[in-house]
């Protein structure tokens, strides 16, 4: 309130004027309430009441091995996707900080392409490339390798998902890396550290907040991915999102599908809160 540009007199009229812009929030918040809040509340409601009130749907979810397997596969797929995205994204983001203006623009453009290339189009393209007689296996065959089963395997799903989620890793990493003071590296070198040690002990820790933010975003997005695993994966290796789809759309089991949805949502929000907490704690530590 003290940040209001002209020192506002504490009259009623001024206070109304300070509040009036809040009305501009109303249409968007109303749309969100009706078409986002109500649907989500409906899912929780159905999970707890369909077919009868109680926790039966959650008991069913956590006692059936098939569900727990799907939950486990969802976690491992998200974890591999995150690890691969970090392995590819870290050097890529580092290169962005080392490139000249033109090189950086090119690298940024390349990593942004996924944002405006349709998910459906890219999943379809991967289906073409990964099919057993596809381009990848033709290339492997030409050098005497393969054939490699990619489509309908978890590997194929991860390869495609990393491609789609890489921007979420690279952009926060770059944002943090660009702010790292490189003179600290020179300082470490002048104190006798080898280049590799200086990089690992000075640069990597300073870039960790970016890596953590990127990893969290990729992991959360991977947990809820539907189209790519549904089209590239095998039905036997289905993930939680596919199970939810089947329960609701195929079996009309709204309560069970809803319970799975609540589990997925709870995992997402739980991880986000952990991430926010970690960020808060590390921020406090740095500024004691």
């Amino acid at each position: 309130m003290t940040t209001a540009p002209p020192a506002a007199p504490a009259s009623g009229a001024a206070r109304t004027a300070a509040r009036r812009p809040a009305l501009l929030l109303l249409p968007a918040l109303a749309a969100l309430l009706v078409f986002f809040g109500v649907p989500l509340a409906g899912i929780v409601w159905r999970a707890l009441t369909d077919p009868q009130p109680g926790l039966a749907n959650f008991t069913w979810f956590f006692t059936h091995p098939a569900n727990l397997d799907a939950l486990g596969r969802t976690f491992t797929t998200a974890a591999w996707t995150t690890l691969a995205a970090l392995a590819l994204g870290y050097p890529y983001a580092y290169a962005m900080t080392q490139a000249g203006a033109r090189g950086r623009a090119l690298l940024t453009l390349l990593v942004l392409v996924p944002f405006w290339t349709s998910l459906m189009v890219r999943t379809f393209a991967w289906m073409i490339l990964m099919q057993d007689s596809g381009l990848i296996n033709q290339a492997l065959g030409a050098v005497g390798l393969g054939p490699l089963h990619l489509i309908r395997t978890p590997t194929g799903v991860v390869v495609a998902m990393v491609q789609m989620l890489l921007p979420f890793m690279v952009l926060p990493l770059y944002a943090v890396m660009a702010g790292v003071d490189r003179r600290l590296l020179s300082a470490a070198r002048s104190l006798g550290a080898r280049p590799a040690a200086a990089f690992l002990q000075v640069y990597v820790p300073l870039s960790l907040p970016g890596a953590a933010a990127g990893a969290l975003t990729v992991f959360i997005n991977a947990l809820g991915f539907y189209v790519t695993p549904a089209l590239l994966g095998s039905p036997e290796d289905s993930l939680l999102s596919q199970e939810i789809f089947t329960q609701v759309n195929g079996l009309l089991e709204w309560g069970r599908g809803g319970a799975m949805g609540v589990v997925l949502l709870a995992m997402t929000l739980g991880l986000l809160s952990l991430g926010a907490l970690a960020l808060h704690l590390s921020g406090n530590r740095r500024r004691p």
């Binding site: 812009p21 890529y92 998910l119 381009l135 539907y226 709204w254």
Partner: protein
């Protein structure tokens, strides 16, 4: 005699140093080139495939034809889904841009409690997994009889697109000096006139970026659309999804190529527009 070569190496060392530093980064550049190719090239496989002459998705094609494009534009299912996608996306762009810009103004100008909460709510659609939103909306839309309606698609996509408008417009407004608006007011401009003639032109790049994101969000959306569609109204990605799970029809490659061309043209136009604006400013 033996000292001479040693001398030349020490003399040559200082200028050689930047070269060696650049050489050390060579593997890094090669790595980036590979990652860049992996990001961009796979999607382009649909372009040659769309010109195949056979009714199969075998790659590379052995003969060429434009029959799948002819099929796309004559088959009512495909051509109508493109039309539906475009009308929905344009309506979503207009709605989400207006609602999102207004909300961003509220977020940056209002001095009330609870703003972080409102901001969190506005960004929530990015965080919640698509499938969960999809079954929730499906349940609601079944009750309200909104499945397969234009209004249903419009509101579902608008909610998903809102964060992508709010984020860039809020950023643009935080960089905007409100004294320009006060100056306009001093000279007699009403609130609306001041906003239209002073604020809006200055935050235009942010609004344009938001509008573009909103269009692309709607045009590309699959998961929620799969649930709210009906045979009477389905968007292009939904048509592609059901086609790819049902048969091996290269029309889908033609559709994919058309989508790539549309979004590439849009993004290039937006980038050109913005760079011209920033040069003029």
């Amino acid at each position: 005699m033996t000292a001479a070569p040693a001398d030349t190496t020490t003399a040559a060392r200082p200028p050689a140093r930047p070269d060696r530093a650049r050489l050390r980064l060579l593997p890094l550049w090669a790595f980036c080139a590979l990652v860049g190719a992996w990001l961009v090239l796979p999607a382009l496989v649909v372009v040659p495939l769309s010109f195949t002459d056979k009714a199969s998705l075998a790659f590379p094609p052995t003969g060429w034809s434009t029959r799948w494009y002819a099929n796309f534009f004559t088959d009512p299912q495909w051509s109508r889904s493109l039309l539906d996608s475009l009308t929905v996306a344009l309506a979503v762009t207009a709605t989400a841009t207006v609602l999102g810009t207004a909300a961003a103004l509220g977020l940056t100008r209002a001095r009330i409690g609870g703003l972080p909460l409102a901001q969190g709510a506005l960004l929530a659609p990015v965080i919640v997994p698509g499938v969960v939103v999809a079954i929730g909306m499906y349940g609601l839309f079944l009750q309200l009889r909104l499945t397969g309606t234009f209004f249903g698609f419009l509101m579902a996509h608008t909610v998903l697109a809102l964060p992508f408008v709010v984020i860039p417009v809020t950023a643009a407004l935080r960089g905007f000096d409100t004294r320009y608006e006060q100056a306009a007011a001093v000279m007699g401009a009403g609130r609306l006139t001041a906003f239209r003639t002073v604020t809006l032109p200055m935050i235009a790049p942010g609004v344009a970026a938001g509008a573009l994101f909103a269009f692309v969000t709607s045009f590309d959306e699959v998961v929620v659309s799969l649930f709210v569609q009906s045979p009477y109204l389905r968007t292009l990605p939904v048509q592609m999804y059901s086609s790819v799970t049902r048969d091996t029809d290269p029309t889908i490659a033609a559709a994919a190529t058309l989508i790539i061309c549309t979004t590439t043209a849009l993004v290039t136009a937006a980038a050109l527009l913005m760079s011209r604006r920033s040069h003029a400013g």
